[in-house]
Every structure is written in structure tokens, then in C-alpha cells.
């Protein structure tokens, strides 16, 4: 894309950043204006993201496209290097897509705080500005191909996230204001410290990486491509011990973010205490950076160490899957239930990443996207439900289906997506992950399959307890979804259906990137023991050609 001089990637990150500033600057009186402004900027970002997706050419040579590279901090060997592969494009698109919905869904989330608003203290403006800030940082960390650049935003995004959780938490079912504030801030602090600790340990590894490269390449560098190439050329050979230590440093941070058992305990609190849109922001957008980084940095920077760690990681992922699902079954709080469900799903993603098969990793990437959409759908509808009833407890609901059928219906679809029902997007990714895992580790694959039964269990139990049965007095007057809420949910559901039936655009985008990763790690898919007719791949594609005719 040399001919394409306009810095598309930077723009995609800058627009929301500018939006954040602009929104924050809106005077206190113009609250609604601020909301619209934020929405506008998020949509602009979406447009840019789509342009990226269009500009991106899956077939092209080289791991990264639309690259930008400028000198930044020479002393640290840091360059401002951006570039996207299929995986990044998919996730950027996801982020840019979700943020407008998050903003719409959170339209009134900050209103509760307006009571003690002053000329200077402008909750609404702050809320939406922070959301946009998070978007900007997430986007750029998806784009960064310089480890240091990535690290900076990987860490920095914690701050706005932290204020979103602690400052604009969920007031539903909180009778005592100060007690609620305490719960919120403790959740926020836990989120921040947990991730900060992870990040700092990663920092040590980042510095170590610099030391290694500086020692062996003469000048220290953080450029992913440069390091990968140097490795390939044999100029860079890390000692086994060093490589493992560095890998662990990186992986720890990502495992906290992802989150992987047993580093998950911050998530339920954070999601439970924050409003639904923010919870979506956490689990559907921010956490993806962790799994994405495993795929892009852990595997490509430290292939040998990754292989060395694979067994342990896979087992942890497996534990996450089952553990998260079982705990989800036992939750009394809707949001915490979704949180534990997410932990289970992240287990699947990590399983797919480290299965080191093309199905596994493509599946994992699709999973990131699909999980983002499905969780968003489920969580946002849950949020609408909670704001209506003013309680997060499952026990406080019942028979909603009768009074608010549309709400119940969308909730059910979100749930079915979460239990990855065939025909909905998550099924595709989940099955790919399972197949990918199974083809190399049959036993793990089978155990992981138990997860789909548990998923059905917690989703259906949730649905039954909240939506079915005799109508409870408290929900009798519950209104059905409003127009704004439908605008939020309908597209998500449509997307779930579309990607469930026709995920090809996504797979086409992702496959080359995955193949590249696998080649870096130098792993091939295990071959089937009976070779049936030609290569199925070709068969599939040429049959496609026919279909096209």
C-alpha cells in the first residue's frame, strides 16, 4: 500500500481520541450535544475501520499492510510503527463496530450522576469521552507492530477503563450510596492493580527483550517484524532460559487481561459493578487485546518458549472453560453470570490460540469477534432489563417474557449465541476451536466439548428464571424495548445471524495471517490418516467457483 499515503491507521486511532477531547470540552449545559458528538465520532471511526477493511488485501504479500513507520524514541529503540494483518483488521472492525452501540446503550448511564454535577464536574461528558479514549487506545494497540508502542497503550488504556468502572458504576440494586461507591471503587482498584501488576511484570520482560536485541543486533529494537526476521535469519538467538522468562513476562500480562484462570478474579467484580455498556467494553473490547497479543506477540516473538509452555497453557485454558461455566451456573447476579461465562469463552479462545493449528487459531480469532458481538448483545439486553427493574439479582425476575416479549426474545437470542447454537456466529468459531484442538490433542478437545453442555445449562437456567414462569408483581409494569434499544440490539443480532451463516469474509481475512503466525512458530496442521479425494481445500474453493457461475 505504498501508493496510499494517507495515514489511515493513525487516523482511525486519532479520530476517537479527538472525539474524546471534544466531548469532554462540551459545556455542562449541553449534555445531549455531548452524547451526539460522541456517537458521531464513534461512527466516523467505524467508517474509517471499514475503509481499512476494504483497503486491506488478504492476498497481498508480507505480514502487515497499510504500514506506517516514524522515528519516535531512538534511545529506546522505539519507532512509531503501525500495521495490520487480517486478525487486527477483524478486531479493529469489531471495536469500531461495538463502540457506537455501547454509546447508544449507555445513553442515560451517566444521567444518574448529573444530580451533583457542577460547571466543572460534567459526568456525561466525562463518561462518553472516556469511552472514546478507550476506543482510541484499543485501536492503536491492535495496530501497533512495535512492542513498546503496543505496551504503552496496553497499559494506558487501564486508566480510562478504571474511571469508567469506578466512577460510573452500576447503581442498580444499590440502596446505600456510600456502600455502593465503596464496592465500585474496590472493584475498579482491583481491576487496575491486577492489570497494572501484570503490565509491570511485562515491562520487565519488555526491557529484557530490549537488552537481548541490543546485545545481539547491536542496536536494541522493538519492531516485531525486525525481530521475527532476525530470528528467521539466525541473527537473533535467544537463550532458552531467557526466552522462556521473557515469554512468561509477556504471557502473564496477557493472561491477566484475557483473563485466564486463576488470574480471572478481577473480571466478575469489574463487570458486576460497572454498567452494562462498560461491562461490554471490558469483556468484548479491552480483554480482546490480551488474547490478540498472545497471538501476535507471545507466539511470534517467542516461538520456542510458546511451544514449551503450550501444555500448561492448554490445561489452564481447559480449566477456565469448565470452571467459568460451572461458576456461571451458580451465580445469583446476572452480570456476574455473564462475566463467568466470558471467562469460559476466553478459555476457548486461548485453547484455540495455543492448539497451534490453523483451525484453532482462525477459530480463536473468529471467536474473539463473535464473542464480542454475542456478549454485547446478551449483556446490553441484560442491562436494559436491569435498568428497568433496578436489580441485578436473577431471583428478582420472573415471567418477563409475558410482559416484554421482544426484550425476552432478544435476550434469548443473545443467550443462544452464548451457548453457540449452530446458525449463529459463535458456533462457527467454537467448533473451529474444538476441531483445531481435537486434531492435535484429542483428549483436551473432548473435555472442552463438555463446555457446550454447561453453556446450555447456565444460559437456559438464566432464561428460565428471569423470563419464564408466572409474572412477578415487580415486573408486571415493565415496558418492552424502546426504539433506541432496538436500534442497539437488532444490528447485533443480524450480525450474529449473518456471520453464523456466511463467515467466509472473516475467514478469508484471517486465514493468511494465521498461516503466517503458524509459519513463524513453524507448526503444520496434523494430516488426516485417510486422504480422501484431492485436497478438500481445493475442492471447496473450486466448487465455490461453480456456485459463483
Amino acid at each position: 500500500m505504498a501508493d496510499f499515503s494517507f495515514p489511515l491507521l493513525s487516523a482511525t486511532a486519532v479520530v476517537p481520541a479527538v472525539g474524546a477531547v471534544a466531548t469532554a470540552a462540551v459545556p455542562a449545559a449541553k449534555r445531549t450535544a455531548a452524547k451526539w458528538l460522541a456517537l458521531l465520532f464513534s461512527l466516523a471511526t467505524l467508517v474509517l475501520a471499514l475503509v481499512i477493511a476494504v483497503r486491506f488485501d488478504p492476498g497481498a504479500k508480507g505480514p502487515f499492510q497499510l504500514t506506517e513507520s516514524h522515528a519516535w524514541i531512538a534511545d529506546f529503540g522505539v519507532r512509531y510503527e503501525l500495521g495490520v494483518d487480517g486478525i487486527a483488521v477483524a478486531l479493529i472492525a469489531l471495536t469500531a463496530l461495538l463502540i457506537p452501540f455501547v454509546i447508544l446503550a449507555g445513553w442515560h448511564d451517566a444521567d444518574a450522576l448529573e444530580k451533583d454535577a457542577t460547571k466543572r464536574w460534567r459526568p456525561t461528558q466525562g463518561f462518553f469521552a472516556l469511552i472514546l479514549a478507550v476506543e482510541a487506545m484499543v485501536v492503536i494497540s491492535f495496530e501497533a507492530t512495535d512492542v513498546f508502542l503496543f505496551y504503552i497503550f496496553f497499559e494506558a488504556m487501564l486508566i480510562p477503563m478504571y474511571f469508567l468502572i469506578g466512577g460510573f458504576g452500576d447503581r442498580a440494586g444499590v440502596d446505600d450510596a456510600t456502600e455502593g461507591a465503596a464496592r465500585r471503587s474496590s472493584a475498579a482498584v482491583k481491576f487496575l492493580l491486577y492489570n497494572l501488576a501484570g503490565g509491570l511484570i511485562m515491562l520487565a520482560a519488555v526491557i529484557g527483550l530490549y537488552a537481548v536485541t541490543a546485545d545481539q543486533l547491536g542496536t536494541g529494537t522493538f519492531s516485531l517484524q525486525q525481530i521475527v526476521q532476525a530470528r528467521a535469519a539466525g541473527d537473533l538467538t535467544m537463550g532458552t532460559g531467557i526466552e522462556r522468562l521473557l515469554f512468561l513476562g509477556f504471557f502473564f500480562a496477557f493472561a491477566v487481561k484475557a483473563p485466564l484462570w486463576p488470574l480471572h478474579t478481577w473480571l466478575p467484580g469489574a463487570m458486576g459493578e460497572s454498567t452494562a455498556p462498560v461491562a461490554v467494553l471490558i469483556t468484548a473490547v479491552v480483554d480482546k487485546v490480551g488474547t490478540f497479543a498472545m497471538l501476535r506477540f507471545c507466539l511470534q516473538l517467542f516461538p520456542e518458549a510458546s511451544k514449551w509452555a503450550t501444555p500448561v497453557v492448554l490445561v489452564l485454558a481447559l480449566i477456565s472453560i469448565l470452571y467459568g461455566a460451572l461458576l456461571a451456573v451458580a451465580q445469583k447476579d446476572i452480570k456476574r453470570l455473564v462475566a463467568y461465562a466470558s471467562i469460559s469463552h476466553f478459555g476457548f479462545i486461548i485453547l484455540g490460540v495455543f492448539a497451534m493449528t490453523s483451525q484453532g487459531q482462525s477459530g480463536a480469532t473468529l471467536y474473539m469477534v463473535n464473542h464480542g458481538i454475542s456478549t454485547a448483545a446478551l449483556m446490553l439486553v441484560a442491562g436494559f432489563l436491569i435498568t428497568r427493574r433496578g436489580s441485578r439479582l436473577i431471583a428478582d425476575y420472573g415471567g418477563v417474557q409475558k410482559v416484554a416479549p421482544v426484550l425476552a426474545g432478544t435476550f434469548l437470542i443473545g443467550g443462544l449465541a452464548t451457548l453457540s447454537l449452530p446458525g449463529l456466529a459463535p458456533f462457527v468459531s467454537e467448533f473451529l476451536v474444538l476441531v483445531g484442538t481435537f486434531s492435535r490433542y484429542p483428549v483436551l478437545g473432548i473435555i472442552a466439548t463438555v463446555g457446550i453442555v454447561l453453556a446450555a445449562l447456565y444460559v437456559l437456567v438464566l432464561y428460565q428464571r428471569t423470563m419464564t414462569g408466572p409474572v412477578r408483581a415487580e415486573v408486571r409494569a415493565m415496558p418492552d424495548l424502546k426504539a433506541r434499544e432496538l436500534v442497539v440490539v437488532a444490528p447485533l443480532i443480524a450480525l450474529l445471524l449473518f456471520l453464523g451463516v456466511y463467515p467466509k469474509p472473516l475467514t478469508n481475512l484471517v486465514n493468511p495471517a494465521v498461516d503466517h503466525t503458524l509459519s513463524v512458530v513453524d507448526q503444520q496442521d496434523p494430516k488426516p490418516d485417510v486422504r480422501v479425494n484431492a485436497v478438500p481445500g481445493e475442492a471447496g474453493t473450486d466448487r465455490d467457483a461453480e456456485a459463483a457461475k
Binding site: I73, A74, D75, Y151, I152, F163, A188, V189, L192, L193
Partner: protein, 559 residues
């Protein structure tokens, strides 16, 4: 017998005395010392201004004195800074770097860089000194944060009279200037005597400044007396160390000592050589001198004074001390270790490792349970001293420049933070109890946000100067092979993050108290101070390259 030899040697040396500066045979043959005034300009300007300041105190009419003093100090500091720039531009930082004033002072990269930093910081600090809008005017006259009359008994008749008469302690400005003068010399000192004198020159005025708080005079005086006694105590150790080093090397110039250290004991008088293992002299002496400096930088276990003094001293002074003193002291420490005792590297490195680790951890851990903002910042400054030590230990050019950069970054953050502390006030003056800061973010988001920025910089969150600095020193340490030091540093900064975050939580997430403090609207002076702090913090966080280059070029000591 040995004694005879020794005595004899004295006579003989006195006889054919070519080289000795004090050769007998009448004053006619004493060569006049040759001083490069131009190259010492920064120091001279500041000290000269200080003297002028004293005269102003003596003769200038009282009502105009404040303005005269402020003007004088600002101009002087600006001029001195200009001089530093001039020298640097003249290449004295790099190519023309050399020893001036007959080996007393070095004019080289680190010296100029640090002097520049000190001068800038002091300039800002003077602004906060001069702030007169925060305290309510008494008897219609604006007052600053210093006692009306330092000598008067708190709450006594004399003080009342002084307040009524509208006295203000404008002496603070010359005092500050003297201190700054000493600080300028400190990192440039190229022999142990100059080191000691400079130390005292900047310490003594600080002792007094500490005692001059307008409010809570008891605490202020207590901090002064503590600082003074411990300071004197430590300087005594330093001096004894100097003595021993002199005894070992027979000279106090860094170059001379380094030479002796490198080519062993042959220069030592046999009388010494066979009576005591002269290495012992060297090692003990070195250790004691280093201890004197560690006291100034507030490294564990010589940090006790820090929290008490930081808390009791008038906040502007605290900010000034916290920022400038650290810069000067680390400068001196660097020069001592890199120029005088490089031969001892293998002896002091492990020890400094221990000190660094202790300092980082102790500072971070103790800070966790602090309840007073100023004490909190004091402990955080201790932790930071530990981080900087990690860079010092690297014993590489990278190490030096990283430390220089860190000092630049850190000093501005600190100054800004303390400046913010001066704004948050209630009836009893500054409200430094953390509990009172609850919900500040609601009352005045701007101030809270600014303070949050400083805290995040302290915590080393990316995109702030704190992160760049921390990364620089840890990188240097890692390249110096101190990987585990880095890991421990990272862990302790994780602990440190905890209490910085705590303050942010307090400010933003806790409901404001009814009787909570209010944020006073300061004059442009303090505003500038804070603004500069924020700007530097962000600039050094986002685009540190230029300053890293600067520090990189300045990273070479002249020997």
C-alpha cells in the same frame, strides 16, 4: 624510625618546592590561582544575587522588599540558566569539557545538565515561594506561606505585633539563592573539600527555610531541628570519610584519588602502608562519603529525616527541597562514583544494589499506609531514590544519561505535586490529611485531574514522564546485567502504584465530605508552576527523544 623518615620527608619536600602551591620563600613566589570566571558564571551569578539579596534585606524599604527580592531572584536564576545554556552551546558540555578553578570544579556535560535542571526547578520553586494569594490576607496585607517573623514565639506577643506590622520573611529569597548556589556547586565539585563545603552551603539555608512555616510553626521548627541535627550528624560522617580518603590518597581531588586507586598503593607513605591496610582507609572512607550523599538523596537506611522534614517544612520549601536537593545530591553521587571511585566499582556495586533494593521496597511498602499527603509524597520520593539508584549502579554511559533524564522528569513532577498540595486548604491552612481529600474530584475536577496526572507519573504509567524515566533507568540497569534489580524494581513500583491509586480513588470515587477542604485559586505564579509541571510531564512522556539526546550527550564526565 618511620616517624623520622616522615618528618624528614616533610622538610625535604618543603625545600625544593616547585610543584607545591605553598612553597616557602616568601609570598612573592605564590602563583596567583587562575579562575575561569566565565565558566563558573552560573554559580557566581546566583551567589552574587544572594549577597545582593542580603543587602536588599538590609537597606531596601520594607514595603517594596518583597517585589525587589522576587525580581532579583527570578532575574538571577534566569540569567544563570542563560549562562548554563551559553556554556552548553559553547561546547563545554562535550568537547571543551574540563576542570576549572584549579581542579575544584568540573565544567562538563553532567554538571551543566544538572545545573540547568536545578536552575529551572528553582525558578519554578521561587514562584511558589512568592505565592501570596492562598492564605487569607491579614490586616489587609497579602501574606505568603512563611512566618511573619521566624524568631518570634508562635502565638506570642512578638508574632502578633509582627503580623500586625505586616512583616514578611523576605529573607527566604536570599536564603533560597544561597542554597541554590550550593546546589549548583555540588554536582560540579571535583574534589572532596569543595564537595563538603558545597554540601554545607546548600544545607544550612535549607535548615532555616524549614523552620519558617507560617502555620503549624511547631511542626515546622521540629522539622528544622531534626533536619539540622541529622544533617550535621551525616555531614560529620562525610567529613570523616573525606579525611580517610585523604589519608589514603594524599590528595582530595577526584582525579588524584582515582589515580591512586587504579595504580594501587605505591604512592602511599610506607609509614601508613605497613601500619594499617590502606585499602581499609579507602573502603571505609569511600563508604562514609557515599553515606553522606545517600543521606541527602534520602536512601534507606538514611531516609528517616525525609518524611518528618517534608511534612513539617513549608510546602513550597518541601517541593524545592524534594526536587532540587535530589538532583544536586545524585549529581554529586554520580561524579564521586564515576570519577573518584571507578576503580572500586566491584566493591561498591553490590553494596549499592542492596541499598537500592532496600530503598525501593521500603519506600513503596511504608507509603502504603500513610495518611498525610506530604508524608506520602516523602515516602514516594524515597522509593524513587531507589529507582534512580538502579540507574546509578549501571556504571555505563547509558546509566548516567538515564539518571540525568530521570532527575529532570522527576523534579518537575515533584514540584508540581507539592504546588498542588498548597492549593487544597481549609481553616487550618493546607489540608494535608488524605481523608480530607475525599471527593476532591467532584469539587474541583481540574485540580484533582492535574494531581492525578502527577500521581500517574509517579506511578510510572505510560505516556507520562515517569514511565519514560523509569524505563530509561531500568533499561540501563538491565543492560548493566542487573536483571533481578529490574524485576524487584518493577515489583516495588507495582506496590507503589497501589497507594497512588488509593489517592485517586479518594479524590474521584469517594463522596465529598461536607466539611471538606476548598481549593484556593492561586495567583499566576503557582499556576505557572503547576502548568509547567504538567507540560513537562506530558512532553517527556510523549516525546522524550530530544531530552534523552540531551542527557545522552551530557552523559560523559570529564576526568
Amino acid at each position: 624510625m618511620t616517624s623520622v623518615a616522615a618528618v624528614h620527608s616533610l622538610w625535604t619536600m618543603a625545600d625544593g618546592a616547585a610543584g607545591s602551591p605553598l612553597a616557602p620563600g616568601g609570598p612573592s613566589r605564590i602563583p596567583a590561582p587562575h579562575i575561569e570566571y566565565a565558566q563558573l558564571a552560573p554559580t557566581l551569578i546566583v551567589l552574587g544575587a544572594a549577597v545582593l539579596g542580603v543587602l536588599v534585606e538590609a537597606f531596601w524599604p520594607r514595603r517594596g522588599r518583597y517585589y525587589a527580592q522576587v525580581l532579583l531572584s527570578v532575574v538571577a536564576l534566569a540569567a544563570a540558566f542563560a549562562a548554563v545554556i551559553g556554556l552548553a552551546a559553547g561546547g563545554f558540555g562535550t568537547t571543551k569539557a574540563h576542570i576549572a578553578a584549579m581542579g575544584a570544579l568540573a565544567v562538563d556535560g553532567p554538571a551543566l545538565f544538572l545545573q540547568g535542571t536545578i536552575l529551572l526547578v528553582s525558578l519554578i520553586a521561587i514562584f511558589t515561594f512568592a505565592e501570596r494569594r492562598l492564605d487569607p490576607a491579614t490586616h489587609g496585607r497579602p501574606v505568603d506561606s512563611f512566618a511573619a517573623q521566624g524568631a518570634a514565639v508562635p502565638g506570642g506577643e512578638a508574632e502578633k505585633a509582627a503580623v500586625k506590622a505586616g512583616f514578611t520573611t523576605t529573607e527566604v529569597f536570599p536564603l533560597a539563592l544561597f542554597a541554590i548556589g550550593g546546589m549548583l556547586v555540588f554536582p560540579a565539585a571535583n574534589d572532596l573539600l569543595t564537595l563538603f563545603v558545597a554540601l554545607e552551603v546548600f544545607s544550612l539555608p535549607l535548615y532555616i527555610l524549614c523552620a519558617l512555616a507560617r502555620r503549624q510553626r511547631l511542626l515546622s521548627q521540629e522539622s528544622a531541628v531534626k533536619y539540622f541535627l541529622l544533617g550535621a550528624f551525616s555531614s560529620a560522617f562525610l567529613l570523616f570519610g573525606v579525611a580517610l580518603l585523604y589519608g589514603y590518597a594524599g590528595t582530595v581531588t577526584y582525579a588524584g584519588i582515582a589515580e591512586v586507586v587504579s595504580d594501587g598503593a605505591k604512592q602511599i607513605d610506607p609509614a601508613l602502608a605497613d601500619t594499617m591496610g590502606n585499602d581499609a582507609l579507602l573502603l571505609i572512607g569511600g563508604a562514609l562519603v557515599v553515606m553522606g550523599l545517600l543521606f541527602k538523596v534520602g536512601a534507606v537506611p538514611f531516609h528517616m529525616w525525609t518524611p518528618d522534614v517534608y511534612q513539617g517544612a513549608p510546602t513550597p520549601v518541601t517541593g524545592f527541597m524534594a526536587a532540587a536537593t535530589k538532583v544536586a545530591a545524585f549529581g554529586a553521587l554520580l561524579r564521586l562514583l564515576y570519577v573518584a571511585l571507578p576503580g572500586l566499582r566491584w566493591d561498591w556495586r553490590p553494596v549499592m544494589w542492596g541499598v537500592a533494593i532496600l530503598t525501593m521496597l521500603a519506600g513503596a511498602v511504608i507509603a502504603v499506609t500513610q495518611t498525610d499527603v506530604k508524608r506520602l509524597l516523602a515516602y514516594s520520593s524515597i522509593a524513587h531514590a531507589g529507582f534512580i539508584l538502579a540507574g546509578v549502579i549501571a556504571t555505563s554511559e547509558d546509566g548516567i544519561s538515564s539518571v540525568l533524564f530521570y532527575l529532570l522528569a522527576y523534579s518537575f513532577v515533584t514540584l508540581g505535586a507539592f504546588a498542588v498540595v498548597t492549593l487544597v486548604r481549609d481553616a487550618g491552612g493546607e489540608a494535608t490529611q488524605l481523608a480530607k481529600w475525599a471527593g476532591l474530584g467532584r469539587r474541583s475536577p481540574l485540580v484533582a485531574a492535574v494531581f492525578a496526572v502527577f500521581l500517574l507519573a509517579f506511578a510510572g504509567i505510560p505516556l507520562t514522564s515517569g514511565f519514560a524515566g523509569k524505563f530509561a533507568v531500568f533499561k540501563a540497569a538491565a543492560e548493566g546485567g542487573a536483571g533481578w534489580l529490574v524485576v524487584i524494581g518493577v515489583l516495588s513500583s507495582a506496590i507503589a502504584a497501589f497507594f497512588y491509586i488509593r489517592v485517586i480513588v479518594l479524590m474521584f470515587f469517594n463522596e465529598p465530605k461536607a466539611d471538606g477542604p476548598t481549593v484556593a485559586v492561586p495567583s499566576p505564579l503557582t499556576m505557572t508552576a503547576i502548568a509547567v509541571g504538567v507540560v513537562v510531564t506530558l512532553v517527556l512522556g510523549l516525546a522524550p527523544q530530544y531530552f534523552l539526546d540531551l542527557a545522552g550527550q551530557a552523559g560523559v564526565f570529564v576526568r
